[in-house]
């Protein structure tokens, strides 16, 4: 058995149909657990007060904004190298999800920033690179819509994805590259001393797992729709030719 079997649309549809109920159930349970625990059962922070509760949506959405682009980068590279249609359709499917996650991170960051920093927005390296990442998501989605031929659209969007990866990477490491601006460094780290107390960290980890599972669920659903759309176009073309 090889991972390339899933490049076959039929195999992908079969496997995703089996996996979807499980992934969806897990996503709902982990999201609800993480968010309810974080919102209702954690104390206020001694400096940030109740605004610390925004961490359970801001950090997971920001993480998924970057990781969705990373997933799109991998699947776009697979398309460019091996020409597997399912791969590039998964990238196309992930883009609106990544864009929504970026928007959530930007909105919740602005709402959180106002009472903590005294401003909704600052041209800080991390905030700015996130805004550019959002614009790249918009551009990626627009490019898919603008090009009629699906293979040409796949090629062009894959190249755009490679270029945009620079900003996805910058969004992640901006705080380290430019030691200036308002935004803090990573809230959680596996290899360094944790910056968040355990009482906040556990529901945060669970929320992050919930956002990852929600992303997988939505990518599977949207990729299935893209595969169906491609099959519909093929059948319509065959009917016209007959």
């Amino acid at each position: 058995m090889s991972i390339w079997e899933y490049a076959n649309p039929k195999k992908f549809m079969q496997t995703s149909s089996w996996a979807l109920p499980w992934v969806t159930g897990l996503a709902v349970v982990t999201l609800l657990t993480g968010l309810v625990w974080g919102f209702f059962f954690t104390p206020d922070d001694f400096r940030q007060g109740a605004t610390v509760k925004i961490i359970y949506i801001h950090v997971p959405s920001a993480m998924m904004a970057i990781n969705a682009w990373a997933m799109m980068l991998v699947t776009s590279l697979i398309w460019l190298i091996r020409r597997h249609h399912v791969s590039v359709l998964a990238a196309k499917a992930a883009a609106p999800i990544g864009m929504t996650m970026t928007l959530i991170a930007l909105f919740t960051g602005a709402i959180w920033g106002q009472p903590m920093w005294g401003t909704w927005w600052a041209w800080d390296p991390r905030l700015t690179s996130f805004l550019i990442l959002f614009l790249f998501y918009l551009g990626y989605i627009a490019l898919w819509e603008a090009v009629d031929d699906p293979d040409t659209a796949a090629d062009l969007t894959s190249v755009l994805c490679l270029v945009g990866s620079v900003f996805a990477l910058l969004s992640r490491y901006a705080v380290l590259f430019w030691n200036q601006g308002l935004h803090q460094g990573a809230s959680l780290s596996l290899d360094k001393e944790e910056h968040v107390a355990d009482v906040f960290a556990w529901p945060l980890w669970i929320s992050m797992a919930g956002f990852v599972l929600l992303f997988i669920t939505l990518v599977l659903l949207r990729t299935r729709t893209e595969i169906r759309s491609r099959r519909l176009r093929a059948l319509e073309a065959r009917e016209r030719m007959a």
């Binding site: 919102f39 209702f40 206020d44 007060g49 109740a50 605004t51 509760k53 925004i54 949506i57 801001h58 959405s61 609106p96 999800i97 929504t100 928007l103 959530i104 909105f107 919740t108 709402i111 959180w112 106002q114 009472p115 929600l214 939505l218 659903l221 949207r222 299935r224 729709t225 169906r228 759309s229 099959r231 519909l232 059948l235 319509e236 065959r238 009917e239």
Partner: protein, 51 residues
Amino acid sequence: MVELGKYAGTVLGAYGVTLALLLGLVWMTLRQGAKMRKRLEAQEKRMGRNG
């Protein structure tokens, strides 16, 4: 009910925007999926009938 104090608007606003965006995304995903499945089934049926 959880006590949010002077930050109630801030916290509820952040959660409200997030829930609205996530529910909108899920709703759009399901609606587009159902629409496409229906269109594909109709096309397959029509082509099956016409040979």
